[in-house]
């Protein structure tokens, strides 16, 4: 039994990606295996850990819980697409580096996506706001403290450039 392939076209980080993929291929597997953007990670495949978080039409979602064909015609942004246009780290990415908000780096892309979405909506988040925004992203290395520091630092820096 050959699985039928479906033509899927998704705009990822501003670039068009097309592939012929089976129905059951998840969005995260599409991004990693078809688009070869391996920054988005797989941690649980059942929608809890958040390592697979990407922006789907600008909102953070779990890419392991979507099938690639569901994203056909939509816009996805992964961590690779969050840098500045010249490729330098965004204030948020740089803030993560500044406060040591990562160790192994595995949860980091999803964490940055979730934090990015928060800062798009809320430029001066309280500590509670930050913790709420990243509550769907599990980290086993950092204990979250320096991540909270990074997001609040990024908020201040973004506030300064307004």
């Amino acid at each position: 039994m050959t699985e039928k392939k479906h033509a899927v076209a998704i705009e990822v980080n501003g670039m068009a990606f097309q592939a012929e993929v089976p129905a059951r291929l998840t969005l995260v597997d599409f991004l990693r295996d078809e688009a070869r953007l391996t920054g988005t990670h797989v941690g649980c495949e059942h929608g809890i850990c958040g390592a697979c978080s990407v922006l789907f039409d600008s909102l953070p979602v779990r890419a392991c819980l979507m099938f690639a064909w569901q994203a056909h015609g939509h816009k996805v942004t992964t961590v690779e697409g969050l840098a500045n246009p010249d490729g330098s780290p965004s204030p948020l990415q740089d803030s993560f580096c500044e406060t040591h908000a990562l160790q192994c780096g595995y949860c980091t892309p999803g964490m940055i996506v979730a934090a990015h979405a928060l800062l798009e909506e809320n430029r001066s988040p309280s500590e509670a706001d930050v913790r709420e925004a990243i509550a769907g992203n599990l980290c086993r290395c950092t204990g979250y403290q320096q991540i909270v520091d990074a997001v609040q630092l990024a908020a201040r820096r973004l506030g300064e450039t307004r």
């Binding site: 089976p22 129905a23 059942h46 779990r62 819980l65 979405a117 709420e132 925004a133």
Partner: protein
């Protein structure tokens, strides 16, 4: 954990969804947010041969207000409900329930209807729908059927829907009393987890502080329960602490919870009473604060 193979079609409308269901029958499942269905497919606990995607069905995403009802399309996203100012004003219990649902990523995709039809016994939206005595509008190619939310859940993950039917919309009665208050509370192990026990209440007071309308429900497994009789006994009282305590004790007696890895039946029963009291008090205090 890759899902078993399947095929799919996108339904651009409710009618198309029903037609596809009629064609594919028991082999098909509707997919909206996928937050409950896809994990089960990944674990191969669910293996639909055919998925009908309703994310593009615009006629399932509307929110309509009338004088007496508020009707939400089944595919309205949880995120949208959270942020809709009119819903916050006229159907606040849904927003309060959503504070306990998953995380941002979950609510950005999850839908009202998806949660209700998936019917996890400790999910928040099914409980809210029961408490508010919502009516579920089911549609198939033959027409529309109305089922009270309070009769929809039969057992954990088992609902009164045929393979050909699609939940089209959920209609909530509007409470027009000026002094209305509501509350949702739950005990879960972590924020965002399904509840060990959840409770919801909505009450309305007259100008003198007497209760004129009350709704109360708990989810302690196996299915969410609307405690209609207990709620009705609150009407006409001033909802003082003693009355509420009695009602809470009645709730603890009325529930028949399950035991599982995280909680015994006895603990759940106890929590049902504790939370019933808390939500009644919070709802009452909110209503008292209104003129």
């Amino acid at each position: 954990m890759k899902a078993a193979p399947f095929e799919f079609a996108r339904a651009a409308s409710l009618a198309e969804a029903c037609a596809l269901l009629a064609r594919h029958g028991a082999d098909a499942k509707l997919i909206a947010g996928g937050q409950s269905l896809v994990p089960m497919m990944a674990m191969r606990l669910a293996r639909p041969a055919f998925l009908i995607d309703i994310n593009g069905a615009a006629d399932m995403q509307g929110i309509e207000f009338s004088a007496e009802t508020i009707t939400l399309g089944a595919a309205v996203r949880q995120r949208q409900i959270e942020r809709d100012a009119s819903l916050a004003a006229r159907l606040p219990l849904l927003g309060k329930a959503l504070r306990w649902v998953g995380h941002a990523q979950t609510r950005n995709r999850g839908t009202l209807g998806g949660s209700i039809v998936h019917a996890d016994p400790s999910a928040e939206l099914p409980l809210a729908a029961c408490v508010l005595d919502a009516t579920l509008l089911l549609r198939d190619t033959a027409g529309e059927t109305e089922v009270p939310a309070r009769e929809f859940m039969l057992a954990p993950m088992v609902v009164a829907i045929t393979p050909d039917q699609c939940l089209a919309a959920v209609r909530f009665p509007a409470w027009t009393e000026a002094r209305t208050g509501c509350a949702f509370d739950e005990v879960s192990l972590r924020q965002g987890d399904f509840a060990i026990v959840g409770a919801a209440a909505q009450i309305a007071l007259d100008a003198g502080g007497k209760c004129v309308r009350a709704a109360l429900g708990t989810s302690s497994a196996p299915i969410p329960q609307a405690h209609a009789e207990i709620a009705q006994r609150l009407v006409g009282t001033s909802l003082d602490d003693a009355v509420i305590a009695d009602a809470a004790a009645d709730v603890a007696r009325a529930v028949e919870p399950d035991a599982d890895l995280h909680a015994s039946a006895e603990y759940r029963r106890h929590l049902a009473g504790v939370l019933a009291k808390r939500v009644l008090m919070a709802a009452r205090d909110e209503a008292r604060g209104r003129r």
